[in-house]
Amino acid sequence: MDPPPSDHEHFLSLLESHQRPLVKVCWAYGRTSHDRDDLLQEIVGRLWVAFGKYDRSRRFSTWMFRVALNVAIDFRRRQRRWGREIASLDEGGAGVPVAATEDATKVQQLRELRELLEQQSDADRAILLLYLESHSYREIGEVLGISESNVGTRMNRLKKSLRQSVQDPSEEERE
């Protein structure tokens, strides 16, 4: 059974106050605007179905990220299975509406960020996304179901790989 209609408004208000990170999850895991719309619908659908089981004494964001990331990673897995993974990034890779007057540097930076996320494994992308959303290692561990020290280890590896993969040209010259 879906949660009762009386929960609609409560669910909507919680979702509205947390929709920005939700849209970012879709941005990080969907390659095209069509993918992102599909993914958002799927995530919201799962969240709504699972809302009856949500323990209101616990943080909504942790619960929401768990459902959203589980659905998003599964979405990517299903796309890979049917070879749709090779679909190119849309809108110049930025994946957000671009105005004609937009600062080219900012758009380029967003495109780079997008490509960087694409290079990560599903697990590392989830860790990076939560880190960028300013979650602590403990919170990241709670969402992913791994220990805090494990999150720390993986973050250190990510930092190293980031430095190696997108090295600043001036740093290269210095080296």
């Binding site: 970012k24 958002l40 589980n70 930076q109 967003l110």
Partner: protein
């Protein structure tokens, strides 16, 4: 690039997303007003339900046929192969449905993804064996169906096998048995050469076991994430 630099870019994304958030709110409202559970369940459950219903049908027909012809090994052999195939598919489909039903999408990501990968491994394994055993089980099914149909249409109990060339029957059984190793070998060779045809690549990788190896590695990847690893500083 440093992480704090990335974080700045990530925050910049907030400003950009503001332009599309109104639309997303409408989308969210539309989604929750629909009977979501039924829509999600229909997508997830129907393929397995179709497997279950076809297996149950095959089991009933096979068992009825076997009970009528259990004295004649010409009929017992193909009917047994069909029955064993149907039982194996039924067990595999029930296990997948049960695992899917147990999934709690609000659970920790590593644990849920591990379970999803295990379901994927079971699906790939099921697909591989369906493809490799299809000629053998299909021919056995044809023999059983043919005899059953001829028996129903004719007044006296005619043995349809008598009307068929015994060498043709033996050759088809032999082909069905040989197809298991040969199909595997041919798929392995073709999977390496077939590039650019996504659908064929997926099918050949499934039969050759490449998809299975990749899925097992993914299970291990999520399992290793759950395992404790020693922390070290930068």
């Amino acid at each position: 690039m440093q992480l704090d630099e990335l974080q700045q870019q990530w925050q910049r994304l907030d400003q950009k997303l503001d332009q599309s958030l109104v639309l997303q709110t409408e989308l969210v409202r539309r989604v929750i007003m629909q009977p979501v559970r039924r829509r999600i369940n229909r997508l997830a459950i129907w393929p397995a339900m179709i497997d279950l219903v076809s297996c149950a049908g095959l089991l009933l027909l096979g068992a009825a046929f076997l009970s009528d012809h259990w004295r004649d090994w010409h009929h017992v052999a193909p009917a047994s192969v069909v029955l064993i195939g149907a039982i194996a598919l039924l067990v595999s489909s029930i296990r997948q449905l049960a695992r899917g039903a147990e999934l709690d999408w609000c659970g920790p990501v590593a644990e849920i993804q591990s379970s999803l990968e295990r379901i994927r491994v079971a699906k790939i394994r099921q697909f591989k064996w369906i493809m490799l055993l299809a000629p053998l089980v299909g021919f056995c099914g044809l023999m059983v169906g043919l005899h059953w149909g001829v028996e129903r249409l004719s007044d006296d109990r005619v043995n349809s096998l008598d009307k068929l060339d015994s060498w043709w029957i033996v050759a088809n059984y032999a082909f069905g048995v040989l197809f298991v190793p040969l199909g595997y070998l041919v798929a392995s060779v073709l999977a390496k050469r077939c590039h650019g045809h996504q659908w064929w690549e997926a099918v050949l990788d499934g039969i050759a076991g490449n998809s299975l190896k990749a899925a097992v590695l993914d299970v291990e990847h999520w399992a290793s994430l759950q395992r404790e690893s020693p922390s070290h500083s930068d």
